[in-house]
Amino acid sequence: MSFSLFSRRFLASVCLAMSALSHAQEGTQTASYSVNDSQPVPLLSGGLAFVPTWEAGTPTLVSIISPVLLAPLGKDLVFESRAEFEGDFQPRNGTAGDFTGAVQKTLDYMQLDYIGNRYVTISAGRFLTPFNVFNERLYPNWIRNTQSDPLIFPLGTGSDDGLMFRGGISAGKNLNLNYTAYFSSLSGIDHFESERHVGARIAAFLPRERLEIGASLQHQLQQQHLNRLGWHLVWQPMRVPLELRAEGAFSGPEGSGLWLEGAYRLPNARFAPLRRAQVVARTQAFQTGSIVGLNRDLPVSDTKRTEFTFNYFLKDGWKALAGYGRTFTALGNSNIWTVGMTYRFLLPLGSRQ
């Protein structure tokens, strides 16, 4: 199918969808609860992180500022954007000397969301590619339990420019379904780089068991026309303060892998200060694909890594952390040490009342 034909079909579908949504909107307006009378105020939110890392003996001072701008545009429209400024500073002479490095500026997303009805939200612009869940939900430093990115993170994720449909649906007393379907276009514009993709993700969430299982699919509409498959699992047992998260990704030419993370809180510790603590263990493996180096952000040899992190949640959005990990590859094993702080902030850009 040619790109132009695909685009025409897609645009036609969007037009029809908009007409359907406007029809459905009549009903949803009458169903609103009085609790949502508060007018939303624009917000500047985001996170700060300073997480020095020693990998294979080389120190890197990782400093990140990641502001998020949220603005309501009427009843059903939301503008949201996130940028990231990351400075990775390393010693000028390898392991000694003064620290130097460039600050990377990235526009993670800049999108307009139209909350059509209870079944669909349409997002247009630059969005986080919804492949698995780490990229969309767990990426910010103040959220993630382990500070390093998973080895498979570069598979199918990043940001894309295009159109996305998404929604969460209650499909029964103990079943919520959520989905995304998207299409993106090729762009080489600075800070708006994007590949041509079409993809979808669907997940089932069981609220009683607090278990979510989902699958992602992505097809690249350019170059090698790669297919990427992914799955994710999130489980928080009701009776134990434990979080289990796992993701897997597969792409024949690029490689495949998975990660599994368990995080345990200590809310009942006898020593009261420990109740703010969390211990985390993550293990992961990556196997190279048929074309090594096709995706330059992936490891160039089969890799395994296991990490342990101690997080301590201070007041007012601060988190202190320390971690150790070991990487096993055919090219040599190495240690990763991490220590640092993260902070989450939120500022209203208007009257709070």
Binding site: L16, V35, V41, N117, R118, G168
Partner: protein
């Protein structure tokens, strides 16, 4: 080929229109199903349900936020409805819980 693509578009459009109709009727039926209880009791139920949904949905990814004003929370939860794909019901109950 053009006939086939037009047919597929038509089918998709009909499916979406049907979805819109369904949404409309579902929304109307939800108005009917609202409990006709005294306001205080409805509030208490909403609070309990809101806390439950907050713990189930928000706690899956991050720690509890600070206490924010209703206007701030209305924006933050709308953002999370898109980001974390909360259902409409989840969003309403969570806002209620976090602002009362």
């Amino acid at each position: 080929m053009k006939i086939r693509s037009g047919f597929i578009c038509g089918l998709m459009g009909m499916a979406l229109l049907a979805g819109g109709k369904l949404a409309s009727s579902a929304a109307k039926s939800s108005v009917v199903s609202q409990p006709s209880l005294p306001p205080q009791e409805v509030d208490l139920r909403s609070m309990i349900e809101g806390e439950k949904r907050y713990r189930i949905n928000c706690g899956r990814c991050h720690q509890p936020p600070h206490r924010f004003s209703p206007r701030e929370m209305a924006m933050a939860v709308r953002h999370m409805r898109v980001r974390a794909m909360l259902t409409e019901e989840d969003m309403k109950f969570v806002i209620y819980y976090l602002t009362h």
